[in-house]
């Protein structure tokens, strides 16, 4: 929240769109503004009334560089928009940088998402430190209802809940990389970097830097689904394959390869397989291992076929993976391979498996991967 918890001392707040961007049809701008205000009205008693002339509480406009408030924009990229805290005159006003390209889809920058963020400020919200929150300062694209628990908690501290609106389902908050119970969905190398997927996010680890960078999956690859099940890099082909449900996508660097998604059954899985839990390419053998429920498969990248005799049981072929309560591990969340060792992730533990000696060499916490 802003200092002194600035807020509107009324629940009916007026707004007026004073000009339009040429990037979108007028009705698309009207719709984006309407939907962005609705994000806040569904979780508070606030109501918004549109004015077509005169002075409204929230005056909305598009401008470039110096646009009348001595707070100039900076040309394309960088600063996208700003808004003023509730109050007289400039208070509540919201300005968008006309040097940006405004869109109504995943291409940058989605007007609805930026407007919803800015109206948060116009109602009294400050910035959030949670990368999964709408009020996080850095732009990121995501579909669905944009408010996180943190956003809702903040706005309801100012205005209270919406008495007659059913509870909305907030976006989950960003995962905490050093949570000792952390489990992950997938892990892969990508041209020397390591990507670790968890819920709607992924951490990007660069070998020279200790600090993993947390980003929303859809902010980097809007075409990918919100959740990734498995991923692996085939260095020879310089591609990374990402799996979600029965579909798979290919990345060349950070660019999606055209012609995807494809169905996983093209790799030779029976139709009964509906999801891949983990995937890892073994550079030394040219084989890729896929883990599905209690089984695993070996895929020959050269021939593009599954090796005969598979699937096999994980428990039988990877002995020694024990949970804390002594049960044998028979499912894998994620897998990676480095210097003759296979790293199999299960819940909050990772098992360093010696590929040659065929036995578990070490057991570590999953979040060791994130330099915790």
């Amino acid at each position: 929240l802003f200092p002194k918890k600035l807020k509107w001392q009324k629940t009916l707040v007026t707004f007026r769109i004073t000009n339009y961007t040429p990037d979108l049809k007028k009705e698309d701008v009207d719709q984006a503004i309407h939907d962005a205000l609705k994000v806040w009205s569904v979780v508070t008693p606030l109501k918004f009334k549109k004015l077509h002339e005169g002075i409204a509480d929230i005056m909305i406009g598009f401008g470039r560089r110096e646009h009348g408030d001595h707070n100039p924009f900076d040309g394309p990229e960088g600063l996208l928009a700003h808004a003023y805290a509730p109050g007289e005159g400039l208070g509540g006003d919201t300005h968008f940088d006309e040097d940006e390209t405004w869109t109504k889809d995943s291409h940058t920058y989605n007007l609805f998402l930026v407007a919803a963020h800015e109206f948060g400020h116009a109602l009294g919200m400050g910035h959030s430190k949670d990368p999964g929150s709408l009020m996080y300062p850095v732009y990121s694209y995501a579909q669905g209802f944009p408010l996180s628990e943190d956003d809702i908690k903040g706005i309801q501290e100012l205005y209270g809940p919406n008495p007659d609106h059913k509870k909305v389902k907030p976006k989950p908050e960003a995962p905490n990389k050093c949570d000792p119970e952390l489990s992950i969905d997938a892990v892969t190398e990508l041209r020397g970097e390591k990507l670790v997927f968890k819920d709607r996010f992924f951490w990007r680890l660069h070998p020279q830097f200790t600090e993993p960078e947390l980003t929303l999956i859809q902010s980097t690859w809007p075409q990918l689904p919100k959740k990734v099940n498995a991923a692996y890099e085939n260095l020879e082909k310089d591609i990374v394959i990402i799996f979600s449900g029965i579909r798979m996508w290919a990345l060349n660097g950070y660019t999606l390869v055209p012609g995807y998604p494809k169905y996983i059954h093209r790799l030779g899985f029976p139709k009964s397989v509906r999801k891949i839990d983990a995937a890892v390419h073994i550079d030394d053998t040219g084989k890729t291992l896929f883990f599905t429920d209690e089984d695993y498969w070996s895929y020959n990248e050269q021939s593009g076929k599954m090796d005969p005799g598979y699937p096999k049981s994980i428990k039988d072929d990877f002995p020694g993976m024990q949970e804390r309560d002594g049960d044998e591990v028979d499912e894998v969340d994620a897998a990676s391979y480095k210097n003759g060792y296979l790293y199999l992730f299960h819940e909050n533990l990772q098992y360093e498996y010696s590929y040659n000696k065929r036995k578990v060499a070490r057991i570590m916490r999953t979040n060791d991967l994130l330099n915790c």
């Binding site: 996208l80 660069h206 020279q208 600090e211």
Partner: protein, 79 residues
Amino acid sequence: EPLPGNKTEKWLFAERYLRRYYGMQPGLLGTSKSSDVMTEKIRAMQSFYKLEVTGKLDHNTLQVMKKPRCGVPDVAEYN
């Protein structure tokens, strides 16, 4: 006007960023004073973005500064 000292483009970019979003006072301070203020503001920004708090203008910090964002300050009082 020649750049004061050996300020690089990156340093000036970061100065602008910290002035706009972290309330760093504009104007020239004595060189030692200005670098102390800059270090303290960089630490504040690194802490906000859960980066490693080094006070140095490292790669990760610059990467975050370059991301498209909202124009409202992250910590300073906004008026």
